[in-house]
């Protein structure tokens, strides 16, 4: 169970990235599946060729930023539907990731010096110490997002996802806020990929497949259970959601009937439930579920026309 919490806290970084696009920008970004692996492969290839692990992890973050910029450019300048723009980048990245990993589908990191080595050598993994360390990292990312979203630029980004016409009428290029948002989001996703690769001791070409579901599950379940009234609470809810998701999956897999390969189906069902249950009368009466519903109705108001 310690391992589940650890993993949940690392994946929370990815979930916070997904929160930024999905909730703040109102942009369902599928780049995530590709950029996660990009982060893992960049970090892995650099580490095996002798680069310092911290530098390799930072490089992974930058690679994620670039992936986000590409999706952003496709969507804004290329005027491609957001969903499709993300899918295009994601699929393109599959080949790019193979190239990064020098043509092999898997790079083992077991004997390499990584960011996890100190934890492993001190036998901190799977204890409260490593949980505390991973929690600090996730909280640092959360606090960064909290701060960023309250800057002038961050407010403009929030408004971009809330009322595009309005924010343009105040002189903001929504193209720019979207590109920056997608970049930061995928930067965190790639950072998460780099950390996961070092944690599990390998990077693999297929490690990002279906990851967007994990992100969505963390965001949706987290906000449904822990609330979403202000950003400070929302981002905390996303972290808790990511941990809850991981614990849930671990528990589910302890049921004998399930196979490890059933994880993706379980995640999909979890997201479906989290999306459908709040629409039922019984759940509408629960206070936290009703806040979820509210975000949805105002999403409709956002489509309101301008001028006449």
């Amino acid at each position: 169970m310690y391992t589940a919490v650890e993993l949940g806290l690392i994946y929370a970084i990815m979930a916070l990235g997904v929160y930024l696009t999905f909730r703040i920008l109102d942009f369902p970004d599928l780049t995530v599946d590709g950029s996660f692996t990009t982060g893992a492969s960049v970090a892995a290839i650099m580490i095996v060729s002798g680069a310092p692990p911290l530098l390799s992890t930072i490089a992974a973050f930058v690679a994620g930023l670039l992936a986000g910029v590409i999706t952003g450019l496709l969507h804004t300048k290329g005027k491609i539907n957001g969903l499709l723009a993300g899918i295009l980048t994601m699929i393109g990245l599959y080949s790019v990731n193979l190239r990064i990993m020098g043509g092999s589908a898997n790079i083992p990191l077991l004997r390499e010096d990584t960011l996890m080595t100190p934890l492993r050598e001190n036998e901190w993994l799977g204890t409260w110490v490593s949980i505390a360390i991973f929690a600090l990292i996730a909280i640092a990312v959360k606090l960064f997002l909290d701060w960023f979203l309250h800057t002038d630029m961050g407010l403009a980004m929030q408004a971009t996802g809330d009322n595009q016409e309005m924010i343009r009428s105040f002189g903001v290029s929504t193209d720019r806020t979207k590109i920056v948002g997608l970049a930061i989001s995928n930067g965190f996703v790639a950072l998460c990929g780099a950390l996961i690769a070092q944690y599990q001791g390998f990077s693999d070409i297929s490690m990002g497949i279906g990851l967007i579901l994990v992100g969505l599950a963390s965001v949706i379940v987290g906000q449904a259970v822990f609330g979403s009234r202000v950003i400070f609470v929302s981002t905390l809810a996303v972290i808790l959601g990511a941990v809850a998701y991981r614990v849930f999956i671990t528990l589910a897999l302890q049921i004998e009937w399930f196979d490890p390969s059933d994880v993706k189906l379980i995640s999909a069902v979890l997201v479906i439930l989290a999306l459908i249950l709040p629409q039922w009368k019984f759940f509408k009466r629960l206070p936290t579920f009703s806040t979820l519903k509210k975000t949805k109705t105002s999403a409709k108001a956002r489509g309101s026309y301008v001028g006449s």
Partner: protein, 264 residues
Amino acid sequence: MLEVNDVSKTFFAGTVNERVALDDVSLQLPSGDFVTVIGSNGAGKSTLLNIAAGKLLPETGRVIIGDRDVTKLADHQRAKYIGRVFQDPMAGSSPNMTIEENLAIAYERGRRRGFRIGVTNKKRELFAEELKSLELGLENRLKAKVGLLSGGQRQALSLLMATFSEPEVLMLDEHTAALDPQRAELVSRLTTEIVERHKLTTLMVTHNMEQALRLGNRLIMMHEGRILFDLNEERKSRMTVKGLLQEFENVKGETLNDDRAMLQ
């Protein structure tokens, strides 16, 4: 100062749905002019505003604000000079953000937005001060989400947001039309006060002739993509709603007769 010179706009040009929205329209607003615009549905009023604001690009003609030719600038690039309030009270503010956050966004109109915190205590004081002038008690609800406000409150807030950074031109498109009479009256009064206070150059579209006569110092009537007539302050002050309708019939009749003459 706002200048629209020889602007034409046709929708679906070259198809059966072709629709001339603006036909060689020119309009000059010297600084401080408050012009009300009336005209039937589809007259081209909104199109004129959208072209001036950069939402639509004209086929011909130029748009000049101050001494800058802005014809080629995108809407967000010229937003620095233009404040807008729309007919839909939902359109001018961000529902899931708080009142103070919305005002902070408006406060930075047209400036490069960086990494400074958007809502500071100093700004909060300024916002509260500005909100007091609306007399709606919103100064005590700085942290309330805008989506919770009523249509009238929201439109008053939109008006404040559009104006308090003192844009060179203020454009109002039927901004009181969606409100009940009482709220419409309030927003209409606030408009006069704010325009006077900041001496804003203003273009206001309305279907309410009485309002068009009461507000502003100049009135234009549009019809089928053209400006039918343009009343200066003196003629406007003597004009009545009845007079306007009469004038409309006269001018329309003339153009109709012209058309008939051409057909003969």
